[in-house]
């Protein structure tokens, strides 16, 4: 088990190093960030001056050294437009995203798991069909569209739900609902599938025949065994919440990391872009690591392989 953990951690670190390489290639070798940053009719002097002031005319190896030092500090320099350290900007927007994504995740997990388990207990019932409908709608609906519909048809007529902004619990309601809808659908789908598969296993029949109540069978045996696919999907959802947050925060003007990322990308504020991307990768790799380690806990065979 210890060796497994060590190996898995080492792989995460390697992945993270590879990711920062990809970010370097993306931002320094692909395309021409300076041309994207300046208006189309910018003079050559201005282009050269900007390139120089950003250090993009240095030899590639020098740029790479600087990039590595920046990456280790998790900060690629001050934002081009706000003049503040990119890492500080990021850290400042973390609480907002944490609140939004955390609320959405809890909501999606609780409702999604409940719906999935209930549907699995009565396959092909009306409840099962309704859960299928909810989950396929959840994974198909574009978040930005749902968000705008809620603003137009709920928030504006309601007169008390805010259409955008941050600060009170009321502001949290609509963004959290929109952000949770896709993970909710997928968690329900996966939970249902995992439970249906598990309920067919011979040990469930055995438990039934020796007279254990259904409730006990599910709580003691089935849930833990059905846990692996559910934990996987929950891990994926945490990462996907970051993607969703870019859109949802942009629509609702929610001052989190997604909003920051969207603005940085549109403005080609690339110290900020690099900072956000590297931090997002760090979070993703950490979540994936935790998911894999929780497998080993749920299924001891994994750790011994």
């Amino acid at each position: 088990m210890g060796a497994y953990v060590l190996k898995r951690v080492a792989r995460s670190i390697l992945t993270l190093i590879a990711i920062t390489m990809v970010v370097f290639v993306l931002t320094h070798l692909l395309g021409n960030p300076v041309a994207m940053l300046l208006p189309a009719d910018a003079s050559n002097e201005l282009l050269n001056y900007t390139r120089h002031s950003l250090g993009l005319d240095d030899p590639l190896i020098v740029q790479f050294q600087r990039f590595v030092v920046d990456a280790l500090q998790g900060d690629f320099g001050p934002s081009l437009f706000q003049g503040v350290s990119s890492r500080d900007l990021l850290v400042r927007s973390l609480p907002a995203t944490g609140l939004l994504a955390g609320t959405a995740f809890i909501f999606a997990s609780v409702i999604g798991l409940t719906l999935g388990i209930l549907a699995a207990l009565k396959p092909r019932s009306w409840l099962d069909n309704a859960v299928s409908l909810v989950s396929i709608t959840g994974v198909s609906i574009p978040e930005f569209w749902l968000a705008l519909l809620l603003i137009v048809f709920v928030a504006i007529p309601s007169n008390f739900l805010p259409t955008a902004g941050y600060g009170t619990p009321l502001h949290l309601i609509l963004p959290a609902i929109v952000l949770s809808i896709r993970p909710l659908g997928r968690i329900a789908q996966i939970a249902r599938g995992a439970m249906v598969d598990e309920l067919r296993q011979p040990y469930v029949v055995t438990a039934h025949s020796k007279g254990l109540p259904v409730r006990t069978i599910i709580r003691r045996h089935v849930l833990k065994n059905a846990g692996i696919p559910i934990v996987t999907i929950a891990g994926i959802e945490v990462v996907d919440l970051l993607s969703g947050a870019i859109i949802v925060e942009s629509v609702f003007g929610w001052p989190g990391v997604g909003w920051l990322a969207g603005n940085a990308l549109r403005a080609m504020d690339f110290p900020l872009i690099q900072t956000v991307v590297v931090w997002a990768a760090l979070v993703t790799v950490t979540v994936n690591l935790l998911v894999d380690l929780s497998y080993a806990w749920l299924n001891p065979r994994v750790g011994n392989q």
Binding site: T15, L16, A18, I19, V22, L26, T27, L30, G31, P33, A35, M36, I136, T137, V139, S140, I141, P142, E143, F144, W145, L148, L149, I151, V152, F153, I156, V239, D240, L242, S243, G244, I246, I247, S250, A261, G262, L265, R266, M268, I273, V276, V277, A280, A281, T284, V285, N288
Partner: protein, 310 residues
Amino acid sequence: MGVQGLDVEVSVQRPSRGVGMRHSAGRLLRLLLRDKIATIAALFLLGITGVAIFAQYVAPHDPLLQAIPDRLQPPAWVEGGSPGHILGSDQLGRDTLSRVIYASQISMFVGWVVVAITLIVGTTLGILAGLFGGWLDHAIMGTTDVLMAFPGLLMIMTVSAVMGPGLETVIIALSVRFWTSYARVTRGLVLALKEADFMVAAQVVGGTRRHVIRRHLLPNILSPLATLMPLEVGKVMLAEAGISFLGLGIQPPVSSWGLLVSEGRNFISSAWWLITFPGLALFATILSTNIVGNWLRLATDPIHRGRLGE
């Protein structure tokens, strides 16, 4: 079992193409017609594809034709609407229905082209990784690990922003993201098939590597990969709409459904139809690809076939 026996095994197990494919297409169609919801979804997809292809004959107006006196008209059935603009008009008097119809071309085109690219690239790399193993496997799978360690939308947006948004960039950025799922699925299939009796037999009787791949491996992995396509198209269309909505995807004057919603956003308090209808078209299309995709996966999976009533 002698060599003679093996030979018979091989010819029996060899997946037949041509006739076999047609037969299974007919069987699939019969199965489909038994599932009402999947049939409706498939018909909708067929219809929307037809509308996209024949946009210039179907659309009532030129999608770029401005008519300032007609601006911001609500849909025809709402008070103040006119039958000339069934789904209303935008801030420049352009016809919403016509714009939604023309936008379907870009949305559908991006979806299918990206899935075609990722199918080819992902399958090729997946086969290489699965067949040859070793460092090649590590390199290819390591790359998918790295690409999947970014939040998807963030990576697509970054590629798009760095390369300069536009149709080609959108296709490249989405392809970079989505080939990984095909590569992983293909590798898994290849690893499972590599040890199958008929593959081993084909090698034992002296089939060359090229022959074994073309006649025995490919036919067996193509159908599971093809059944993944509708689900992938849905995911790609959703991602395209997302980045276009955020201004980092398709750029005007061409339009996609996501971009139309984005443009309508400035008028949400006065013109609800500008965001509602393009989004509805997008949602209905993605919903249909997911319904058809889920159905297709069940219909072609031997374990689940019984559930669909065959």
